[in-house]
């Protein structure tokens, strides 16, 4: 479903990814772990198409199509969702308006009918409730005045509303307390665990993987996949640290 081959990327002319190869088949959840500065977030941004993150070599295909040739909004319409490590605040724009326009823009480009205001609000409320978020918060400006945990929950509500084919979740677990972590984990399973979907879960810690069990775990270091293994690899890393596990 997502096929990354020998991906090299630079940020401000500095090489960050140095030949990442990774295949996530439909129906699987893969976790990417790795120390700070190993290129995890860069990989997420490159996949979503953030300006300034330049691919110098290699390829990434999504459902057989060249992902890197698409603009960020086209990637979203194709079914890719990026859960941000630091969700962005947008004063003056309510969450409801932001998400309705975004979703309808995606639907238009896929040739689907747009949702009416009423239909959208119903969908948004249902998803907020499932994630344990007060639906009233959706009337507020995007992420303004949200705590760190509320922002991450809101990212998952967005994912539930967009219902993507593939999600790249960049440290969605950071800043969450245990209850929020459970809710987010359950949300990922509910929204994304399906035979036709896939997830790339970027995390520092094992604890989210207790709730969302990965099919494969990869260790990213210095812009390269250093090791890959089953769920047991995450436990090993948790026990022994990245330095030990690499040896």
């Amino acid at each position: 479903m997502l096929e990354i081959t020998n991906l090299h990327a630079t940020v401000a002319d500095k090489p960050i990814l140095n030949g990442v190869s990774l295949h996530v088949p439909a129906g699987e959840v893969h976790a990417i772990m790795g120390p700070n500065g190993s290129g995890k977030s860069t990989l997420a941004y490159v996949l979503a198409g953030r300006p300034g993150y330049e691919v110098s070599e290699g390829s990434a295909t999504f459902g057989g199509a060249d992902l890197l040739a698409l603009e960020p909004h086209e990637r979203a319409a194709a079914g890719l969702f990026l859960g941000f490590q630091y969700p962005v605040e947008i004063p003056g724009v309510s969450y409801l308006q932001f998400l309705r326009e975004s979703l309808n823009s995606q639907r238009r480009s896929r040739g689907e009918a747009e949702l009416s205001g009423g239909e959208f609000i119903k969908l948004a409320k249902a998803q907020a409730t499932l994630l344990g978020m007060d639906a009233e918060m959706l009337k507020r400006p995007v992420n303004v005045g949200f705590s760190g945990g509320e922002k991450k929950r809101a990212e998952m509500v967005q994912m539930g509303i967009m219902n993507p084919k593939f999600a790249v979740l960049d440290e969605t677990d950071s800043g969450l307390d245990i209850d929020a972590l459970k809710a987010v984990g359950a949300g990922i399973n509910r929204i994304m665990r399906a035979p036709e979907k896939g997830v790339l879960l970027i995390t520092h810690y094992q604890r989210l993987l207790d709730y969302v069990e990965p099919d494969k775990v990869h260790v990213l270091r210095a812009g390269l996949i250093e090791r890959s293994g089953g769920p047991e690899l995450a436990h090993e890393l948790e026990r022994e640290g990245y330095a030990e596990a690499a040896a």
Binding site: G49, G92, S105
Partner: protein
């Protein structure tokens, strides 16, 4: 009777498009006067019309404890000017929420002179400008606090967004304070759209033009939050932003 034609040497006309103004001065040069008696309230919506040159010159006198709230959208195709001279008696309140939205070669400006005459008056001016092409958007705002006007609370917040390199924003808050127990806050910023906000919106499926329009809308639409009936001015602002974005 029309006032004498202004010159650029007058500070309050410094950025005006006098060439555009000259032919229509006879019709537009007059100053309208509004007087609010003690305790009276006023809420006004000033919407743009279709004319190339639009000028609104208003003198507003607020009696004791009177309050006036004005929402204005300045969006003339060639030259737009909103000029307000306000005097506040004791305990009076004045609020102005206004936007300059300018495209092409237009000049739109908001020029105010708020005079706190009595004690304990409050004034709040919030100005947002969105400018593209070679448009000019200006705010010249003078706040005068008279000798006896203690406990005055005056605020000016001015922000401008430039969408193209050739666009110009002028922000000039000016204070003249003759009382010693007052609060006069002012802030001004000029910026471009935030790259991270744009990417966030695009990553959710908005094409670049829609993402820009939405962010600009957020920048301006907050002005009307406290308006009783904001639909008309909100719709006009949205339409103006679509033309500018």
């Amino acid at each position: 009777m029309t006032a004498p034609f202004p010159t650029r040497k007058q500070e309050e006309w410094r950025y005006a498009d006098l060439d555009a103004l000259q032919p229509v001065w006879e019709q537009l040069g007059d100053v309208a006067t509004l007087v609010l008696a003690a305790g009276e309230s006023l809420e006004e919506m000033w919407l743009p019309i279709a004319d190339d040159v639009q000028v609104r010159r208003v003198q507003l006198a607020l009696g004791e404890g009177a309050n006036a709230r004005i929402f204005a959208l300045n969006n003339a195709p060639v030259y737009g000017r909103i000029e307000l001279e306000v005097s506040l008696a004791e305990g009076a309140e004045f609020e102005l929420y206004a936007a300059n939205i300018g495209a092409g070669l237009s000049t739109n400006e908001i020029v105010t002179n708020v005079k706190h005459v009595g004690e304990g008056g409050r004034s709040r001016q919030v100005i947002r400008s969105v400018l593209n092409g070679k448009a000019i958007g200006s705010y010249l705002g003078k706040v005068e606090v008279a000798r006896g006007a203690q406990q005055t609370d005056a605020e000016q917040s001015v922000k401008a967004m430039l969408l193209d390199r050739g666009a110009t924003a002028n922000c000039k808050p000016e204070l003249e304070i003759f009382a010693d127990d007052v609060k006069c806050a002012h802030g001004a910023t000029v910026g471009e759209l935030d790259a991270m906000q744009l990417f966030y919106a695009e990553s959710r499926g908005l094409d670049p033009a829609s993402a820009r329009a939405l962010l600009l809308e957020g920048f301006v639409m907050g002005l009307w939050d406290s308006a009783g009936e904001a639909d008309a001015i909100g719709d006009a602002a949205r339409a103006a932003l679509r033309r500018a974005a």
